[in-house]
């Protein structure tokens, strides 16, 4: 039988129609799956996938290129307590919530502060860490300024796009300029170069940066802003996950594990020789 053009185009039409129907079938399968809890999915797969974004000292790459940090310890303990393997999915911060919602991983453990805007898209557990934000300023440019002086149009702040410091700066210092960058390193570099007066970051980063560049940078105020706490983020509509994560966090506060790990990574510098800082 000769392969006529009509047959070819008919075959292509059928293929096109079935390929358009396939995502609809997959859609049903996904909807069914999301009715059951993420805890069940984790138990079934035998692995918990944790999304995180690199941010010193929550999670970072050491000299060997391995992931170390506060989040890694918390994630490994969580997986050990659940009896499953752990898989860390490094993700760009800008897309970490959409990635969670579209199912790339099960939970975000990445030092994500609880904000109402985020809470509309994802659920948060109870806080597992409390780290406030402090101001890191260029000493020469901000000499003798009080905190009200920062709220003027001549003042420029630099911050990481999408991170909480950016929103807090916009709230507390609405008159000042705000420059947004993709990484904290770039924001701090702007302050070092003198293109921005100050930046804000979660402790202990500002103190560490001021220690590294004592001639140029300083932490002018000891007060911390917005110590609302950081929590796990997971998909909405999952009461089992809420119950499990909240209880796990509460237990690990009571038995001192979270406090001990938090002191090790945030207050101490024992780990500094493993990383190039």
């Amino acid at each position: 039988m000769k392969l006529t053009r009509r047959m070819m185009s008919a075959a292509m039409g059928i293929a096109l129609a079935t390929s358009l129907a396939l995502p609809a079938v997959a859609q049903d399968a996904r909807a069914d799956l999301s009715k059951t809890s993420v805890i069940e999915q984790i138990k079934e797969a035998g692995v918990i996938k944790i999304g995180l974004s690199l941010f010193t000292p929550w999670s970072m790459r050491d000299k060997k290129g391995e992931l170390i940090g506060f989040e890694l310890d918390v994630g490994r303990k969580l997986a050990a307590d659940m009896g499953v393997e752990v898989e860390f999915v490094p993700t760009a911060w800008d897309g970490i919530i959409p990635a969670l919602v579209s199912g790339k991983f099960d939970v975000i453990i990445s030092g994500m502060s609880v904000t109402p805007a985020r809470n509309l898209t994802v659920n948060f557990s109870d806080p597992y860490a409390y780290s406030g934000l402090t101001i890191l300023a260029n000493t020469a440019m901000t000499a003798g300024m009080s905190i009200e002086d920062y709220n003027k149009p001549e003042i420029t702040f630099a911050a990481r796009r999408g991170a909480t410091p950016a929103t807090v700066i916009a709230q507390l210092f609405p008159e000042a300029n705000l420059l947004l960058f993709d990484e904290d390193g770039a924001a701090t570099q702007e302050v070092l170069n003198g293109n921005a007066h100050a930046t804000m970051a979660a402790d202990p980063t500002p103190s560490a940066e001021a220690r590294k560049n004592p001639e140029t940078l300083s932490v002018p105020f000891s007060e911390t802003f917005l110590a609302t706490g950081e929590s796990f983020a997971y998909r909405k509509g999952d009461p089992d996950a809420s119950n499990f994560f909240n209880n796990w966090i509460s237990i690990n506060w009571k038995n001192g594990y979270l406090k001990e790990r938090s002191d090790y990574w945030f207050k101490g510098t024992v780990w500094a020789n493993q990383v190039d800082q």
């Binding site: 000769k2 392969l3 053009r5 070819m8 185009s9 292509m12 039409g13 096109l16 396939l22 995502p23 079938v25 997959a26 859609q27 399968a29 996904r30 799956l33 797969a45 692995v47 974004s53 690199l54 941010f55 010193t56 970072m60 790459r61 050491d62 000299k63 060997k64 290129g65 898989e87 999915v89 490094p90 993700t91 760009a92 800008d94 897309g95 959409p98 990635a99 579209s102 199912g103 790339k104 993709d182 990484e183 904290d184 390193g185 770039a186 701090t188 570099q189 070092l192 170069n193 003198g194 560049n213 140029t216 990383v275 190039d276 800082q277």
Partner: protein, 293 residues
Amino acid sequence: MRHQKRQRLHWLDYLILAVVAVFIAVIWFRISGSLNYKWQWDRIPNYLLRWDEDDQRWYTNLLLQGLINTLRIAIYSSILALILGTILGIARTANNLAIRMLARTYLEVLRNIPPVVVVFIFFFFLSEQLIAALNMEAWARDISRQDDIAVWEFFFGDMRRFPSLISGVIVLALFESAFVGEIVRAGIQSIGRGQREAARSIGMSWTDEMRFIVLPQALRKVLPPLSNQFISLVKDSSIISLISVQELTYKTVELVASTRMIFEAWITTACLYFILCFGLSLLFRRLETNARQ
């Protein structure tokens, strides 16, 4: 009569080079004066290859791992883009109006949307459906749990990140196939009608005509723009770092986040991309001269 281009350096050439050198030096001093940055170049080699004391051997570290992943992604998606693009190019010259229109629509949509947007749309809407439908994650995880996976790791890297690698390869291939399709269409249309009519007159079917007469000549003719497209694909692969595929750009972002060595890391990455792309362009130049003979 053509003028022979001068091959030896004249005093005027030395003057021009001196002016350029002075210009670069002035810019360098202005930059380093205002930049206030502590250079730490001695730490970079450790992130390319690191010497492990316990195992007494060299391991590739972040940047080389990223480079190898970029190479894998570039090769796989260019093979896929070539196949898809050839089909598209043939479809663009088909006699059937519906096929021509569909191909034209696909091409125009993907050529006129910036690659970043295409990548995000594909990643958040389509790739998850695809991975769920094929049950790729469970399959990849089963493989990564086995003992002897050296062959898998050679071709695909860390098997746990296999679904994201495939997402990156597919979206890059879909995007590039639009451009390859146009190139192939131009190649096909450059084959004279006389040849195609002669093929028909001796009784060749359409598939035979394509296979033996048109495609071999067309593909050989469009080898220069195709190789250009391949090099462009290697550079475009840096866009899929936005969807967290573990290739060179993403590894550099991780390195900067962990060590704050912004300039050293990005300059090193730029050099690595340059070595890769320039090496490829030299290779293609060799291939083109061979094909022309």
